[in-house]
């Protein structure tokens, strides 16, 4: 059964076609990676899927869908007087649900409670990304959309974050849509890949979608990406 069906999706912003003719079906509890060069419309795709930008075509989520959205790196002013407690409390109040959910969400993303008293503009990139994921989890989503969650985070932090997403998908049977520039991550974690490029979109399992030929077509230049098969 599908979590999401997209048919002939198009988005036009300021007179320019940002997305055109995007179609794919996403089974439940699977992980879709969206790849493509800068400006290919990856973020716009996620924003269309959550209904934040007008689109043509059809987007059909399963009837019981609860979305959790983790946006691309947000530009938060350093002196904004909102701390992690304020942010999570706001979501908990909007979403309802038991108090235990908060501790569980923090544990899932590996964020210590004491970090929450820091203003969100003063948190490190990794801390804030984890907070955003914890925030999304408080709504008890069954679909998680993440827009380059590891951007701007150091290598060990990225690896941890990828593991967090992976374990959420496995333990909670979540459907995950992930925008990523890291093709090795895509290869390792994704069940399906959607490539957005200047010549249109392609969709398929990583092994068939991530060939040198498709990558050349998507990125417009040869990429030095090699698949390492680990047992």
């Amino acid at each position: 059964m599908n979590a999401l069906a997209v048919q002939d999706l198009g988005v036009r912003l300021r007179g320019t076609d940002v997305l055109r003719g995007v179609s794919f079906d996403l089974p439940r509890a699977s992980c879709l990676a969206v790849i493509g060069p800068n400006g290919a419309g990856k973020t716009v795709l996620l924003r269309a899927l959550i209904g934040a930008v007008p689109y043509t075509g059809r987007v059909t989520w399963a009837a019981d869908t609860v979305l959790g959205y983790v946006p691309q790196k947000l530009d938060i002013e350093r002196d904004l007087p909102l701390n992690g407690h304020d942010f999570l409390r706001a979501k908990a109040a909007l979403a309802g649900g038991p108090d235990t959910l908060r501790a569980e969400a923090l544990r899932s993303v590996g964020l210590p409670e004491e970090v929450l008293s820091t203003p969100i503009g003063n948190m490190s990139g990794g801390q804030f990304q984890r907070l955003l994921i914890a925030f999304a989890l408080l709504g008890r989503p069954n679909v998680l959309l993440l827009d380059e969650p590891a951007a701007g985070i150091d290598a060990p932090g990225q690896a941890q974050l990828n593991e967090v997403i992976r374990s959420l998908q496995e333990t909670r049977a979540m459907t995950v849509l992930l925008v990523s520039h890291d093709l090795s991550v895509v290869y390792r974690y994704a069940d399906h890949v959607l490539c957005l490029g200047p010549r249109g979109a392609c969709f398929g399992p990583p092994r068939s979608a991530l060939t040198p030929e498709t990558l050349y077509e998507v990125y417009g230049q040869p990429l030095g990406f090699h698949v390492h098969d680990h047992p």
Partner: protein
């Protein structure tokens, strides 16, 4: 002849009313400052001017004319921003310029000064009732919607996936903002009400590291400025508006002496 507050509750009633107005200004100001609408508060208050002019021509209470134009202005700004995706402060700025141009052709001399700096004299009963009800509406809105406002502030997209109707929330926020300016018109005038909304919140932002502290400091300073300004004005026998804003401005400059901890 209209009933005046002086007949049934001298000064105390007026003081309670101005305190309520200050609480509303401190609360809505906190979110306006966090949303970087600082520069929008003053222009927004000037949208009231044509309404005052129309009311004077048609000979009804300028407050109602001002209020009608403020609320209309809020809806207009919301609509233009949604249709064109221009930043809120830019839309407010343009609307303000047009309103000021239209307003200046309709009002003149003393009337304009009263409208800008607040008219002296006692409040009528309908004005007092409007003050109390309006302030309670604004206070209730901010306290009830604070969670949605916080999430909207961080990211409209996140708000959308947290069951917040962002478009409606934005409209209500602008209406509450316009209403707050309307509340202060009789006391402070259009020129100064924007300052009472912004200055206490701007001071609070320098020191607060969390939402509750931000709201508390902002409200306390707004009420303290209003009380102290009114007191000094009564000693000097002058309208209270300019003194209230001078106290708030003085507190702001004092706050600059202490460096913010980050």
């Amino acid at each position: 002849m209209s009933t005046t507050i002086h007949e049934w509750a001298p000064q105390l009633g007026a003081l309670a009313l101005s305190a309520l107005m200050a609480v509303a200004a401190g609360l809505i100001g906190s979110f306006a400052v966090m949303r970087r609408l600082v520069l929008a508060a003053d222009p927004m208050s000037h949208i009231a001017l044509p309404g005052i002019g129309i009311a004077l021509i048609l000979r009804f209470n300028p407050l109602w004319g001002a209020l009608a134009l403020l609320l209309l202005g809020a809806v207009l700004i919301w609509g233009v921003e949604r249709r064109t995706r221009i930043a809120t402060e830019a839309v407010i700025g343009v609307t303000f310029a047009v309103a000021l141009a239209v307003g200046s052709t309709m009002t003149s001399g003393e009337e304009l000064i009263d409208a800008l700096l607040g008219a002296p004299g006692t409040l009528t009963l309908p004005e007092a009732v409007f003050g109390v009800v309006g302030a309670l509406i604004v206070i209730g809105f901010v306290l009830r919607q604070r969670n949605a406002l916080v999430v909207r502030l961080v990211s409209p997209e996140i708000a959308l996936t947290s069951n917040v109707d962002v478009a409606r929330l934005d409209l209500y926020f602008l209406l509450a903002f316009a209403l707050t300016i309307g509340l202060g018109l009789r006391f402070l005038g259009v020129l100064l009400m924007g300052s009472l909304i912004i200055i206490p919140a701007a001071i609070a932002r320098r020191f607060a590291r969390g939402l509750s502290t931000m709201l508390t400091i902002s409200v306390v300073l707004a009420v303290a400025s209003t009380a102290a300004g009114t007191y000094v004005a009564s000693l000097a026998g002058r309208p209270s508006g300019p003194f209230i804003v001078m106290v708030a401005g003085g507190l702001f400059f004092l706050s600059l002496l202490r460096r913010r901890e980050t």
